[in-house]
Structures are given as C-alpha cells and as structure tokens.
Amino acid sequence: MSRLLDWCFKKSIWVYHVNAGSCNGCDIEILDVLTPYYDVERFGIKLVHTPRHADALLVTGPVTRQVRERLLRLYEATPDPKLVIAVGSCATNGGIWYNSYSTLGGLSNVLPVNIFIPGCPPRPEAILYGVAQALGLVPKQVESQIVMEA
C-alpha cells in the first residue's frame, strides 16, 4: 500500500494553495515558482482551483483562529491520499506570531504536516527543493545539532 502511495505521488501532484493568515510574502514566492524561470510544471505540479481536485495543500501563514475552521474543511474536502506542505516560517512554527492570541502558532498544531519549508519568505529555490524532497527526488539537508560541554 505504501509503495502504491509512493508511486502515485511520483508525478503530477496538483496543488491547492491555502493562505492561512499569511502576509503574502510566501504567496508571492509561490507565484515565482510557477513562472517559466523556475517552472514547477516540469514536475507535473500545477495549481488547481478547488481542494477536491488537489493532491496537496500548500499552506502559508501561522493559521489564525478565524481561518482554522475553513482550513479543516479544506483538509476534509481534499481526497486521500494527500500531502500537506507548510511554506514559510509562520506555517512551520508560528513565525514571530507563535504566541499571539489570534494565531494557533503554526500549521502542525492544526493538521498533520508532511513537509516543512522554513524561510521568511523561503526562496523560490527553497520551495522547489522542498517539493522535490516531498516527491523523493532530492535528499534532506538539515540536521539537528546537539553540543554538550564536558
């Protein structure tokens, strides 16, 4: 079953872009990724207009309290199997709004996230890399660092 999922996520994932309280910085970088210069369509990725056609949700923003309900409805409307991609520092961990009363401090507090793409905003290359990593084309590059003084 997991091999089947791997196979069907290799090509042509259709993406629905959700703005969950973002400042539009990340949204403009996503727009950049769609231009001929970066051309995400060579991976078969394209934006769709309804979550019912989508394989992946591309979420930006720290998830405000107002948008939470709509986000959950979007998530339920997306057919299984689905990917959830958090773009930007806000969606990754809440950004500078992580403890604000009006946000929920990051996407992982609301939905199960498959891949985080931090950056404020992430470069178009970083978004491409994250998506390629979600498709299994490129390896992960970051690791946690733990240093203990004797």
Binding site: P36, Y37, Y38, D39, R42, S89, C90, T92, N93, G94, G95, I96, Y98, N99, G106, S108, N114, I115, F116, I117, P118, G119, C120, P122, R123, E125, A126, L128, Y129, G130, A132, Q133, A134, L137, V138, K140, Q141, V142, E143, S144, Q145, I146, V147, M148, E149, A150
Partner: protein
C-alpha cells in the same frame, strides 16, 4: 487575420531567440548571491553562552535554561526570520548567517540546535553566576587590564552575595577622592 498570424510568428521568433530560460534547479545548484542570509550557524568554540542573542531575537526562538549546573542554549530555527539580529549583537562573533536555504524537512526536530555550557555556581549561596567560559573571559580581561585591583577573587560570587560582601567589608569600598 493575416496581420494576426504575422504578429504570432514574430512572438514565436522572440521565444526561439530567448532559448532555454528555465533553471535546472534541484538537479543543479543555484547558490544565492550577495549578502543572502540563510540558516544561522553557531561557532560553539567561540560562544560563551551570555544570552545576548536570546535578548535580541524578535521571534524569541533562542532560549536559555539553567538546570543542574548547566546552561542550555536552544535554537528553534523553524520560526527564524533570518533578520541576523543575533549575529549583530553577539559579543564574540560566534554567530554567522550561512547561505544555506535548503531547510525543508519532515520533522521540526531537524531545525533545532542545543548547546550546553557548564555554569559557575556562587561559592556562597549556590546560585548560578554565569557560564565557566564567560567567567574565564572576564578573568583574562581583568588580568590583562592595568587597574591592578583584586576583583578576580570575587568572580565566583553571584550579584546578591557580591553586594552583601561589599556592604559588610568596608575595605572593599572604593574611596571617593574629593
């Protein structure tokens, strides 16, 4: 109709002349130029654990925690805004912004940095004074200075105990020369 076809042909010619414009990005590196600020990197040998970066960070992602004689410096890079305030305030130039931007990961733990420093505890009350490294640094600076005061004996006292000692020992008080 004919005019329209000609303009379309012209457009096709322009596109042909432009050649290939798309980056082959994930398969070929495309390094950022200029003063791009990517993931902050800490030089553990230089850091003294003073916490200036934790004060300056607007996203409050750097935290200090003093437990059991050790100070833990913790970075939660998931919410970093790459403003480089931490680099600018670091007195030891231990932080730098690397050009690394490919930080995508499936787990937030990959975006954490833990650094642990040994603390100096107050010889009188046992409270944490500062890290061993920063006390050593102050010691070296005092030894190199020309003040010739014997302040170095009190480096392992916390602020409250230092104040008490100064009040109860009149000889320590500086004389004010009129």
């Amino acid at each position: 109709m004919f005019k329209h076809t000609i303009s379309e042909l012209k457009e096709a010619l322009v596109c042909l002349q432009a050649g290939r414009v798309t980056l082959a990005y994930p398969f070929q590196p495309h390094a950022p130029g200029g003063e791009f600020r990517g993931k902050p990197v800490i030089d553990v040998d230089k850091c003294i654990g003073c916490g200036a970066c934790a004060n300056a960070c607007p996203a409050r992602l750097i935290t200090l925690d003093d437990v059991n004689g050790y100070r833990t410096l913790h970075f939660e890079l998931g919410r970093c805004t790459y403003c480089a305030s931490c680099r600018d305030v670091c007195p030891q130039q231990a932080l730098r912004m690397s050009p690394q931007f490919e930080l995508s990961t499936s787990s937030l733990e990959d975006l954490q940095i833990h650094v642990q420093f040994k603390l100096v505890l107050c010889r009188s009350c046992g409270e944490a004074v500062s890290t061993q490294r920063s006390v050593n640094l102050v010691n070296d600076k005092l030894a190199a200075s020309e003040l010739h005061q014997d302040d170095r004996d009190y480096l392992d006292l916390c602020i409250a105990c230092k104040r008490k000692l100064a009040i109860h020992t009149p000889s320590l008080n500086l004389e004010v020369v009129p």
